[in-house]
């Protein structure tokens, strides 16, 4: 089933951040994937976040063109332009910049319309897998999730009484254990196309 994320648009235009959150939940993966060709040259996490902030700012002036996922298509263009600005600022060879842009455009043409299908079992299974995590990885992961990107890992590590490198290893172990647990139950997360 393909859903048009533009059905969130009226509430987003009205300034409802919860509606924007629902739009982001459906759009983020495709925005991020559209930047894959730039991954070695720009910090795509920073670009994705900057893109989402700009989408929120421009959404009230956005004019749908009648095709589905207009706001998502705009977001992918914003993300690509931000990434290109970053690689130009880093004085990357213009030939390579053109190549990166072409790859990003080709990805968008081929994959943008394919919504990630949420696996109805995933949430249930992952919650069960989380209960099986050993104490330290569980605490580190919980700290990352609760912080929601508002504090650096050095602060989070201190808050749970771990050294930074121990904290990072535990977060990684937790995620890997969750993925292994899901896989043992026949669920694998979608790979990048």
């Amino acid at each position: 089933m393909v859903t048009d994320l533009d059905h969130h648009l009226p509430a987003i235009v009205a300034g409802d951040p919860d509606a924007f959150g629902r739009w982001v939940a459906g759009a983020e993966r495709r925005i991020r994937l559209s930047l894959r060709s730039f991954a070695a040259r720009v910090d795509t996490e920073a670009v994705v976040q900057e893109t989402l902030l700009r989408v929120w700012q421009v959404a009230p002036r956005f004019q749908p063109d009648g095709r589905p996922d207009g706001l998502l298509r705009l977001a992918v263009r914003i993300a690509r332009n931000l990434a290109i600005s970053e690689v130009r600022r880093a004085r990357v060879d213009p030939v390579e910049v053109d190549q990166l842009e072409r790859q990003a455009l080709a990805w968008a043409d081929a994959h943008l319309a394919r919504a990630a299908e949420p696996d109805p079992l995933l949430r249930q299974l992952i919650a069960r897998c989380r209960e099986l995590l050993p104490d330290k990885p569980a605490r580190a992961l919980a700290q990352r999730l609760t912080a929601a990107g508002d504090r650096p890992d050095a602060v989070l590590a201190e808050e749970v009484g771990m050294k930074l490198n121990t904290f990072l290893q535990n977060v990684r172990r937790a995620r890997q254990a969750l993925l292994d647990c899901l896989q043992s139950q026949g669920v694998t997360l979608p790979e990048a196309p």
Partner: protein, 78 residues
């Protein structure tokens, strides 16, 4: 004695977080760990981030990843 492969993995994990520094003008900046990675490490960090955000969203009651939560937090704080 330090283990280069473990250090590299820690650097990648550090870059996976949704936390990013902010410039005085509000722009979101690169993570210092991402800057310290070579090209292969940055691509690995990208793929690991993709998996991490899927896991975060699946564990979140509203289906929001760390990135989504970070952005919404910035919007709400103004």
């Amino acid at each position: 004695m330090s283990d280069p492969s473990r250090e590299r993995q820690e650097l990648i994990e550090a870059a996976v977080t949704a936390w990013r520094p902010t410039a005085p003008d509000g722009r979101i900046l690169d993570h210092h760990a991402w800057r310290d990675l070579d090209a292969a490490g940055r691509i690995e960090a990208f793929d690991e981030t993709l998996r991490a955000r899927e896991v975060e969203a699946a564990l979140d009651p509203q289906g929001l990843s760390g990135t989504a939560r970070a952005v919404l937090g910035r919007l709400r704080r103004g």
